[in-house]
């Protein structure tokens, strides 16, 4: 899973229809799991481990999270231990 070209992901606000288009499936799953109440760091760690085979502290995980945060698609809350999918600009 570490051979994904994160730079190739589109640079536009996230929508549900965009989530539907995204590949690979673990990326859709991660963004879906980040809806609802969001993911705690522990839940994110489990998700990365089971769906991506990454440790949270690993380089590919950092690349993934950076790419998503740059696009404002999946961000860490400033107020709580939560990672949340963000829809819209």
């Amino acid at each position: 899973m570490s051979d994904i070209d994160f730079e190739a992901l589109p640079h536009r606000p996230l929508t549900m229809s965009l989530i539907l288009e995204l590949e690979p499936a673990p990326l859709r799953h991660l963004l879906k799991k980040g809806l609802r109440r969001g993911l705690t760091t522990h839940a994110l760690r489990l998700c990365l481990d089971s769906d991506w085979g990454f440790a949270l502290e690993s380089e590919p995980a950092s690349e993934l999270l950076c790419a998503l945060q740059e696009r404002r698609w999946f961000m860490r809350s400033l107020h709580a231990d939560l990672w949340k999918t963000h829809l819209g600009p």
């Binding site: 549900m16 229809s17 989530i19 539907l20 809806l35």
Partner: protein, 255 residues
């Protein structure tokens, strides 16, 4: 933990709102605290089944989505009297029927993420057992979000070729979003159709759970959304089918 149930259909006219209201009532009759959100903002109507009408001072989902109104002010209790002794409660979050407000919502749109946050805010604040989301038919941003955040997706269809095709598309989309616990409901099945044959076709077409097969009913047509069938006709086969679906949802929620 509150269970979120999205009730959806690919096409209009499936009886989705009617099923949503009656399913909510069945859950309430089981002593549950249930909220119903009318997210069919372009063509709202579920409030009619609960005999609820907004007065000019009351707030609705449009006020939350397009104004700064707190979501709690959009919640209205519509618990039928017969349910009160059973400790169940139903709360409705209606949408506006005002044509100008519908037009404004379609013109300006709203941030769908607000809907997500509102659903979980009321789940926590009101200690709800279930939240039912009555969606707009078809596929758009709101319905995709509702399906994605739901613990259960109830897909409603009729025995119609267009419904068979459209439902396949909707289920494919839901599965791509990794939606859990899809329950397929066939509604308005004419008496001359074989239930067993229809069930088999549904199973072969979709490979998802069949939640219920509900008959086309003269009694429901006569009721004409003027009440809740599960209360008006408690022994009707349509009511029994809705009750069975409620039981499936209760059991899969660990109840």
């Amino acid at each position: 933990m509150t269970q979120i149930i999205a009730v959806h259909s690919f096409r209009g006219g499936t009886g989705k709102s009617n099923l949503t209201a009656n399913l909510a009532t069945s859950l309430g009759l089981n002593g549950k605290r249930v909220a119903v959100l009318d997210t069919d903002l372009a063509s709202p109507g579920i409030h009619v089944l609960f005999d609820f009408e907004l007065d000019e001072n009351q707030k609705c989902l449009n006020d939350f989505l397009q104004e700064a109104c707190p979501i709690k002010e959009c919640v209205h209790e519509v618990t039928p009297d017969v349910m009160k002794a059973l400790k169940g409660q139903i709360f409705l979050l209606p949408a506006s029927l005002d044509s100008d407000r519908i037009a404004r919502l379609l013109r300006e749109g709203y941030q769908v993420e607000k809907l997500n946050d509102a659903i979980f805010a009321i789940a926590d604040d009101m200690n709800l057992d279930f939240i039912l989301i009555d969606t707009h038919p078809g596929i758009n941003e709101e319905t995709l979000l509702s399906a994605a955040i739901a613990d259960h997706l109830v897909m409603v269809m009729r025995p119609d070729s267009q419904d068979y095709l459209g439902t396949a598309v909707a289920i494919e989309v839901a599965q791509r979003l990794d939606v859990m616990n899809i329950q397929l409901v066939m509604n308005k099945l004419p008496n001359q159709f074989s239930r067993d044959e229809v069930r088999l076709r549904m199973q072969e077409s979709y490979e998802v759970s069949i939640g219920s097969i509900l008959p086309l009913s003269e009694d429901l047509l006569t009721l004409a959304s003027g009440g809740l069938a599960v209360l008006e006709y408690p022994n009707h086969s349509w009511t029994c089918g809705v009750r069975d679906l409620a039981t499936v949802l209760l059991e899969s929620s660990g109840d």
